[in-house]
Amino acid sequence: MTTATARPIRAIPRSWIALGVLALALLALPLVLRSDSRLNIAILVLVYAALAQAWNILGGFAGQISLGNAAFFGIGAYTSTVLLSRWEVTPWLGMLAGALVAAIFAVIIGYPVFRLGGHYFAIATIALAEIVYTIFNDWEWVGGATGMLIPFARDIETGRPTNSLYYLQFNLGKAPYFYIALALVVLVTVVTVIVDRSKLGYYLRAIKNDQDAARALGVHVLRYKLIAIAISAAFSAVIGTFYAQYLLYIDPETTMRLELSVLIALVAILGGVGTVAGPLVGAAVLIPAAELTRQQLGGSGNAIDLILYGALIVLISIFQPNGLMGLVQRLRHRGGPRPTATPTEQQATAREEAPMLGGYEEERG
């Protein structure tokens, strides 16, 4: 799942031009969208793009399917909010603290859980995230099930809610939130590109392909998985802080639920796991579609969005498991050999090998 498209930036100056145009278009977006509700969708797209990108480092590159990344997101949101509301610590510092707490937590839980492979790992991450959720839901010091409100930053003279960079709060329009979210997406993406091209990225892909073969070549599998989960957790937490400051309200239900973990993974899968562009494309397609569906079909409650959402997941899984980037690649390489190998092909070649070995055995006997 990691081929040419995994590194679109390396290619040729033309892609730099495309990137520049895209950057300008994104910077101008708040001016074009104008309405707060549309800008809200744009911000959500960026939030999920960043979360899916963070998930991708662990789930896409290393192939460790986490269904508990919401726990890291929630830990980030809670750490900065607690620091802010108890000790007036600026959310910018809170963001770093949250990233640190989430990374440490991730390494501590990763140590036992990484001994499990495949489906087992996915289930363990669900269980862990549920424990974290249950604890926060009952922990009165952090507001329990009702959650925590972040007080408005107010103008000292007029007493009205205002913008404050120190408090990472912008009450006079959503545009600043958009730019900060955009900066976060760029940050996570740059880190992903660096990971992708470095020893870490190569090792993670090797681990995803075949752990024993990786070990035989000197790869300390557990160490690199822990690095991947720490990076993934830290960025998820950073985005959690941003999200808390954006909503100015957090509770376990919105920041830590299984549904959020699933949506994060789904965005990456829809776009194409293990590619740098996949999570961004996935968020750009799925989040507006989900939001518009919800608005069109009359809010939550009747659950039509849930039905469509579920059906979409089933269809992608069956027909396009390599996501939209896989589709793009297939169109680009039409007629040529397929660019990515699925485990199916791997098994197919293993099956091809068997008769050859069998023939060899006969020859010997």
């Binding site: 091209r197 020893k199 190569y202 892909r205 070990r215 070549l217 791997q346």
Partner: protein, 248 residues
């Protein structure tokens, strides 16, 4: 001088003894063949040496260090590397990237790793296939990729688990040449093979396992004439026939 020394290696799985007090050594610059009929415990011994599971008792010394029970990834950095009987090419990585994974054992820089990889691809004759995905290679080339990426780790000792299996006679000749070229680079080679004919022409010394024990050791010529070895192999040869008549 001995590079690898096994002293009384025993491996038990529950009540089953897979290896019983196997002792031998491999000197620097040698090509040593480890042979034995099916179920002789060759692969188990291989896994014990290369750190895929610890021996029940006994010691493994490598390059003067006691490395008994060290995990595989640590042994690689010490200079011992292995390949797998059933090839384990990374299917989603290109040939070059496969070899780079090995090269990263020596360097943290991707560009250096790429340079090492390209050199190994040249050496193993895989250069024209550098950008093909692992999944899309025929078996003989997958075996070459296994070799190339093991060599890329910069080993002193290369342990090959049945590299010849599944190759055509012509491909085997090429493989033998390649193993000789590897030795010419100063790398010691330990070959596990099932078939005697393959091991004899290239090995300086041959060690024979049967039912988990070492039953013979010496130059190829002596091994071929060793009655115990002949018995072990003949026994195997006639076993299937006995079973057939037993059923019929």
């Amino acid at each position: 001088m001995a590079l690898l020394e096994l002293d009384a290696i025993t491996k038990r799985f529950g009540g089953l003894v897979a290896n019983h007090e196997v002792t031998f050594q491999v000197d620097r610059g040698e090509i040593v063949g480890l042979i034995g009929p099916n179920g002789a415990g060759k692969t188990t011994l291989f896994n014990c040496i290369s750190g895929f599971f610890p021996p029940t008792s006994g010691t493994v010394r490598f390059d003067g260090t006691d490395v008994t029970g060290w995990p595989a990834e640590r042994l690689v950095h010490q200079g011992m590397v292995r390949t797998f009987q059933v090839v384990r090419t990374f299917p989603d990585l290109t040939v070059r990237e496969n070899v780079m994974i090995g090269a990263f054992a020596r360097t943290n820089s991707a560009s250096t790793a790429r340079k090492i990889a390209d050199e190994m691809l040249e050496f193993t004759g895989l250069a024209p296939r550098a950008d093909v995905l692992g999944a899309n290679l025929p078996i003989a080339q997958k075996k070459r990729v296994e070799l190339a990426r093991a060599l890329a780790t910069g080993p002193q000792l290369l342990m090959l688990d049945e590299v010849m299996a599944g190759l055509t006679p012509a491909e085997r000749v090429q493989a033998v040449e390649l193993i000789r070229a590897i030795r010419a680079r100063g790398i010691t080679v330990l070959l596990v093979e099932h078939v005697m004919e393959v091991v004899m022409p290239i090995s300086d010394r041959v060690i024979v396992l049967d039912s988990g024990r070492k039953i013979a050791e010496g130059p190829p010529q002596a091994i071929v004439e060793n009655p115990e070895v002949i018995a072990a192999y003949l026994g195997e040869k006639y076993r299937p026939r006995r079973e057939e008549t037993g059923e019929g």
